[in-house]
């Protein structure tokens, strides 16, 4: 009996050692993570260059913001009972989609628009006529989205449409924060410093309306 008990102890210890070793070399999940879903990792696929464009954009201001957007529709799920003072009524189920988007608006001046006639030089004086600042991009990348609630069945088009609305709202908020005025002021400052460093004593800069 004692022999059998000893054998069982040795077998159990061996099993534990094997499990421990397999967990160490990641052949088995650890006890803590045994019921945790494994992350879905994408494969390394090639990146194909479709276009190469030459730019000359002076990026002067970025505005970072976070926006929440939601949408709802009548769903296909079980109707629910809504309690009222005179009783209850049967209401259809509601599908909800709530997305949080974190993105940035990039503003600056497109220097490609500067023509020969926009630069006048006389001795150590220079006058440059800069194009007005514009919103160059509003960026809300996939890493900036968080789906807070996804209740019911939502198509990809519906989620994309909500994300586009988030992007538009971030752009709107940037404009309300006077991003273009700030971008114009900053462009003026950068060009002035550059011209001063290149030896000009009298500098005049105007912004096209």
């Amino acid at each position: 009996m004692a022999k059998l008990f000893k054998k069982i102890i040795i077998a159990a210890a061996l099993i534990f050692v094997i499990i421990f070793l397999f967990q160490k070399i990641s052949w088995l999940p650890s006890f803590k993570n045994i019921f945790r879903s494994q992350p879905v990792v994408i494969d390394e696929t090639p990146i194909i260059i479709k276009e190469i464009n030459t730019l000359a954009q002076l990026v002067t201001v970025t505005f970072t913001d976070e926006v929440v957007m939601d949408t709802a529709k009548v769903g296909n799920g079980m109707p629910s009972l809504l309690p009222l003072s005179i009783g209850t009524i049967l209401t259809p189920s509601v599908d909800k989609l709530v997305i949080i988007g974190r993105g940035k608006v990039i503003a600056g001046t497109d220097l490609k628009q500067i023509k020969e006639k926009d630069v006048f030089v006389t001795g150590d004086s220079i006058h440059v006529n800069l194009p007005a600042a514009q919103i160059l991009q509003t960026i809300v990348n996939p890493s900036g989205f968080e789906t807070f609630i996804e209740q019911g069945s939502w198509s990809e088009a519906a989620a994309t449409s909500l994300k586009v609305k988030i992007r538009d709202k971030i752009t709107k908020q940037a404009l309300e924060q006077q991003i273009l005025k700030q971008a114009n002021d900053r462009s003026l400052n950068i060009i002035e410093v550059f011209l001063r460093n290149t030896g000009f004593k009298k500098i005049g800069i105007t912004i096209s309306s």
Binding site: P29, F35, S37, Q38, V40, V41, I42, D43, T45, I47, I48, I49, K50, E51, I52, N53, T54, L55, A56, Q57, L58, V59, T60, V61, T62, F63, T64, D65, L97, I106, G108, L111, I114, V119, I139, V140, N141, P142, S143, E146, T147, E150, W154, E156, A159, T160, K163, V164, R167, Q177, I179, Q182, R186, I190, F194, L195, N197, T198, G199, F200
Partner: protein, 163 residues
């Protein structure tokens, strides 16, 4: 890390844009207790923009001698990557009977991994070389308009491609 939202000043001269595409391929079959698997193929288009940081150009990087000028510019860096929501599309999806479809959050997580891979491959795509060539050409033309005859543009030794 706590992200600070709001307005921030920059001094970047964006000179090159690469528009790239990538297929996002993933299989969800690694969780031992889930019966059946899920496969997804998505396509995405991204725009990478690179250029030089003009705030790193100081007085000592510019040498003027009459109509001759010599400039040492900082190396190009990635200014931003932009993946528009409408440029991500699910091309194919296969879901086993006992599994649910990929949710909006799961698709965003996969696209975020693609975003990271594209960002990390910026150097190997050659965007920094193009950005430096374009920056050199643009500044050369601008200095010609200012009246300089002999223009010499170099890039500094130190490389800092961080965004």
């Amino acid at each position: 890390m706590q992200q600070v939202l709001g307005l921030q000043k920059m001094s970047d001269l964006a000179t090159a844009e690469y528009v790239v595409t990538k297929i996002i391929k993933a299989s969800d079959n690694k969780t031992w207790y889930k019966v059946g698997d899920r496969k997804i193929l998505m396509s995405c288009k991204a725009s990478l923009v690179a250029g030089i940081d003009l705030s790193r150009l100081t007085e000592k990087d510019i040498k003027i001698d009459g109509e001759n000028i010599s400039l040492t510019l900082p190396h190009a860096k990635l200014i931003y990557i932009n993946i528009k929501p409408e440029d991500i599309q699910t091309v194919f999806q296969e879901v086993s009977l006992f599994r649910t479809n990929f949710s909006s959050q799961e698709k965003d997580d996969l696209a975020a991994q693609a975003e990271k891979q594209i960002k990390e491959s910026a150097d190997s795509l050659g965007i920094f070389v193009t950005a430096e060539t374009n920056a050199s050409l643009f500044i050369n033309n601008f200095l010609q308009k200012e009246g300089f005859k002999n223009i010499n543009i170099n890039f500094s030794q130190a490389k800092n491609r961080l965004q």
